[in-house]
Each structure stands twice: as C-alpha cells, then as structure tokens.
Symmetry: C2
Subunit: 118 residues, 2 copies
DNA sequence: ATTAGTGTACTATGTCAATAGTACACTAAT
DNA sequence: ATTAGTGTACTATTGACATAGTACACTAAT
C-alpha cells in the first residue's frame, strides 16, 4: 500500500518520526516486534533499503534493538524511552525558540498563539 | 565575507528568514533599499542566483518590491508587513503543533518546556 | 543439512533541489 | 550612444535521496 509522504522531508525521516511517535504514545509497546524490512517496505510502498535505513537510525538512537535473523524490536529499556522523550522535547523546544527569535517573534507572544491553536 | 549557514536548511531559505526577521524586527524599514543581488552575493559568499531566488521569494510574499534596473526595496505597505507577521506566526504555530502531536507530546507539556528554555 | 525468515551490504541508476557560472535585458545618468 | 548598475534567464554541476537488483549472513525450525 503506497502511503502519502510529504515532499519537504525524506521518506526515511518521516518513517522514523512516525515510529518514534507510536512508541512515545504507547501504540508500540516495549519488546514488540516491528514488521520485517521486507514487510514494511511493501506496506509502505518503499524500497527495502529505505526501511533498512529507518531501522538503522532507530537502533542508533537506542529506540529499537535489532537481532539479525530474528527481527527488530522496540527496546525493553523503558528508562531509555523516557530519556528519548525528554531529549526530543528539549531539542524541539530549542529549535523552535531559535527559529522564532530569528524571525522576530517573542517567546511570550508565540506561546499565546500556541494556546489558541490546535 | 563567507557567512556561516546551517546545513539542515537551504541557504536561500536561511537568507529569506534572516531578511524577514530584520523586517519584522524593524531593522529594515519600509522603503529601504536592499543591497543589489551582486553585492549581497559577495557579502554572503554565495552565488548571484541564490540571492536572486531570495529576492524572488521575498517579492512573491509581497515583503519587497523589485524594480528592474533599480533595485529591491522593502515594501512601503506597512499593513502588509503586519499581515505577514500574523501569517508567519500562525503557520509556525500550526507546524509546531502538528510536529509535537505526531511525536506524541501534548501542547501543554511542550509549552512548559518552552517557558523554561531560552 | 536444509529451508524459510530475518537483517545487511554493495553497486548502479534515476531524479530533483541547490548552487554556480555565464550571458542577457532593463534603467538611469551622462 | 555609452556606461554602470540593476534584475533575469539559461545551462551545467553537484549531492542527497530513493530505487532496484543482487548477493551475503545469521537464526530458528524441521
């Protein structure tokens, strides 16, 4: 099933984000097995190598553990998941603050807009 | 003067952001003339076409007015600048909210992090 | 030992965005 | 008409990304 991907970001990055989100939201539980690279490639309508890159990045950030011949699994280290959650939040916040500053907005007015939105 | 550009974003986009910020902050006044594409290219250590693209985008968003043979000027339409300010804020906010949602964070916890940071 | 299922590695190819180099076109002043 | 200064258009190059095909390596089950 070919899925819809945004053009402003590489597919592998979007898949990484999606899986990260599913883990942080609890949709994917610690220890749970992800689809094989081939399965996921077909599901998403992308190439095996693209999925491989996704799994590689996820493992590099210790969000998953890959066992050759067996598959790729969400890490059972729940503390690590918590760490990642913190790291990603502060990183997102920092980037956002830098961006709004360079565009001439203040943190306070931006927070107001955020409260109203979504 | 070769300047420092981030690698995670195209140079032209960074220059657009910078000029937008300078306008919104009031560092660049309505009617003020920007450097010529060649001047700016040399100053920034980039190619003429990169600057041209920057000026093109700025004109497309009606932040500047380009007069062939004369130069590129900040728009004298101050209302338009105010509009752009609003548009950019809501757009930034929307993108940010979408991003944090897809990564599994709530708006409220993110706002807390923002308040502490920066 | 064989098989099926898994991840991994390597090379080649195509596409597109970003950038660069160069030549052209318009405007104002002389 | 010429010149200097401006924006514009065209083509080429580079690199990142995605794809494709193929081969390899490990694991578990039989």
């Amino acid at each position: 099933m070919t899925q819809d991907f945004s053009k402003d970001k590489p597919i592998y990055a979007q898949l990484v984000d999606r899986i990260c989100g599913d883990v942080l939201k609890g949709y994917l539980k610690p220890g749970e097995k992800l689809p094989s690279v081939r399965e996921y490639a077909i599901e998403s309508g992308v190439n095996v190598n693209t999925v491989q890159r996704v799994y590689k990045e996820l493992e590099a950030m210790e969000m998953t553990e890959t066992k050759r011949g067996q598959g790729t699994f969400i890490t059972t280290n729940e503390e690590r998941i918590g760490q990642l959650r913190e790291e990603m939040m502060t990183q997102l916040a920092t980037q956002f603050l830098t961006m709004i500053d360079s565009l001439g907005f203040t943190k306070e007015e931006m927070i107001e807009v955020l409260k109203k939105g979504g």
